[in-house]
Symmetry: C2
Subunit: 379 residues, 2 copies
């Protein structure tokens, strides 16, 4: 067997679902996990437990792999450059991945390639923030740590200069962005391979609650063909210009005046693509693997008129298994995806997918199941 070995850095649910997608391809899959209890470490046989911030740990892990890829963006860029200098195949490579690691680098590069973004500037003090606010029509403005933020962490809404002090206390670089007036959030997900083949999934609507993705609707309802085509072309352009290999999620704002602006980039399988596991001919995980192995990409087209993904967050009950009885009996078409993580309030511990022809029904089924598993619905 010369089936390749794919090494994924990170043991979270993205690595878990990538293993699931790799089994039918016969891919040999290894992970570098923080602990033996991580989501993926519970289902993957070949687990290295170690710290991804340690270069020697990364080197030892990579030595047994044909290609290295990622379940998160937190590996230090300089370590990835060192691995490439060792001759390790790293996909996506550090020159691409840095744009998903550093929001300052990302904004600067997107501006150069003409990708529409909210107005933004690196700021060093509340005074800088006040000056920036004055230029973009006043407070409130959005402040983000340049590195390490996710799911609302590392993000602040500043309503005044006084209100803008906290982000600077950590002493890390801060990016100020105009607070965009948007009607909804969209995601344009594409997959690109080293030789330049790329596929675009249908543009989806992402509904956020408290800064965390709650629901994804595929395709985005009532999105004009023009805006949908613009979003897909934009994501394909970003993937090409930044040299992305693998799955790229481009999170977008649809503005009140009918434009799309880039909010965030993720260069890995992404929550906004979980619907593809049951809703597309080829899932984001299978296509990410095919891309990092430079195999021809799979058909990204939807298999149903509507697919809805709802995240399952931890609630007050530590064990969600008993809820399976009600959820599965109520909806035989429900697709449950649990991550094998210990339940903590608000933590993403799984998601559900539903599909069908009637959007209202498909949404209700997904929301009911996610709420029942969490414990916020009891019928």
């Amino acid at each position: 067997m010369t089936f390749p070995v794919v090494g994924m850095v990170g043991g979270g649910q993205l690595a878990r679902m990538t293993h699931e997608a790799g089994i039918p391809l016969g891919i040999r899959f290894k992970i570098l996990s923080d602990t033996p209890q991580d989501s993926a470490a519970r289902v993957v046989p070949d687990v290295t437990v170690g710290d991804y911030r340690d270069l020697e740990t990364l080197r030892a892990f990579a030595a047994g792999c044909d290609v290295i890829t990622f379940d998160h963006e937190h590996v230090p860029t300089e370590h990835l450059r060192a691995l490439e200098a060792d001759g390790i195949v790293v996909r996506p490579g550090p020159d691409a991945l840095v744009h998903a690691q550093d929001k300052g680098v990302m904004r600067e590069r997107l501006a150069r390639i003409g990708a529409p973004c909210p107005r933004n500037r690196i700021v060093a003090s509340p005074a800088d923030v006040a000056a920036f606010a004055a230029e973009v029509g006043g407070f409130p403005v959005v402040l983000k740590t340049v590195r390490g933020g996710y799911d609302g962490k590392g993000v602040w809404i500043a309503r005044s200069a006084e209100d803008a002090e906290e982000p600077f206390r950590a002493g890390v670089p801060v990016l100020a962005e105009e607070k965009v007036a948007f009607v909804r959030e969209l995601a344009a997900n594409v997959v690109r391979s080293p030789h330049g083949q790329a596929v675009a999934y249908p543009v989806v609507e992402s509904v956020q609650v408290n800064g965390v993705c709650d629901t994804v609707i595929a395709p985005a309802p009532d999105l004009s063909d023009e805006l949908s085509g613009q979003a897909q072309a934009l994501a394909l352009t970003i993937a090409r210009e930044l040299g992305v290999v693998g799955h790229l999620a481009v999170e977008l704002f649809e503005t009140t005046d009918g434009r799309i602006l880039v909010n965030e980039l993720a260069m890995r399988p992404h929550n906004s693509g979980h619907w593809t596991m049951d809703g597309a001919v080829t899932s984001q995980f299978a296509n990410h693997l095919r891309a990092v192995l430079d195999l021809p990409l799979g058909d990204p087209r939807p298999r149903a008129r509507w697919t809805v993904m709802a995240n399952v967050l931890g609630g007050d009950y530590p064990d969600m298994y008993p809820a399976y009885l009600h959820c599965m009996a109520r909806d035989p078409g429900l697709k449950i995806h649990m991550y094998g993580k210990d339940v903590k309030p608000g933590r993403k511990v799984g998601h559900v997918n539903t599909f069908g022809d009637d959007l209202a029904d498909v949404r209700e089924r997904a929301h009911h199941a996610a709420g029942y598993l969490r414990g916020t619905i009891d019928e």
Copy 2:
């Protein structure tokens, strides 16, 4: 987490694909595998290597499981009774499974419940075979070892009494069956849970080559609603009467005079159900797990007009991975399922699924991919 532990006896591809189906359910999955290189042992973390014919090995394995199920039917019936006497939950239980282990017991029981079967009799000598042949219209007749046969092994076509000697040399019980005049083979697959819920998949056509399943077409083309309904009702009746828990495959002959006769029974996920992985709302593997856990069963309905499964047999090339480039580039909708087994000529090492609206096209795509992977097609 009180998610249950399912223990599957056997480390073959059925256990491998059951693990794949169990990951999204958060099920904890263990296997008892003959070797660390078995198909499932390559992708499952919790592997016990041991001999399923040894009761103490089975007892030690079962001790860590909430329920025991199977990837093959070869576990001695008396061992399963001993496990049940220990209080282990065994699904399907020995009283059901014996009908898939012993063709004599199966034929006798099916006759009692009125399930249509080829005429048959236990025979002890070539003279018995000749007498049976005279009763059923003469030679040729089919001879089968009562236990242990599969994929054409343990089956003989006797054209005369002299031709009927080999099966008796092994000294094991032999079943004689009339050689049925059939137009094609069908399979009616159902899943039943302990509390009696059952679902029926669409009846499929199974195309055999040299006694090995080559292609499965779902649903069976040009099958009358009447015969389809009869086949599904027959499989549901057998599952209920025999007390089957889990997936039951009922292999059928469609006779030249328009009847259906039971050929074989399998009480586990089955080759004739592999199409469900990409072609049905709920796969046979997910429903087998739900059944043995007594969870409500999933929707068995098809997701496409036509789904075709083609087995990938080992050919002359030890490594099939390079063939992925051509197969994936030619058909972005192709679904490849490899088992991680070393390639040996004629050995089942994987399967492919294709789906769509045009049966001729869907069949051609499946046959091309299976042939190209095997090495019998080179364009």
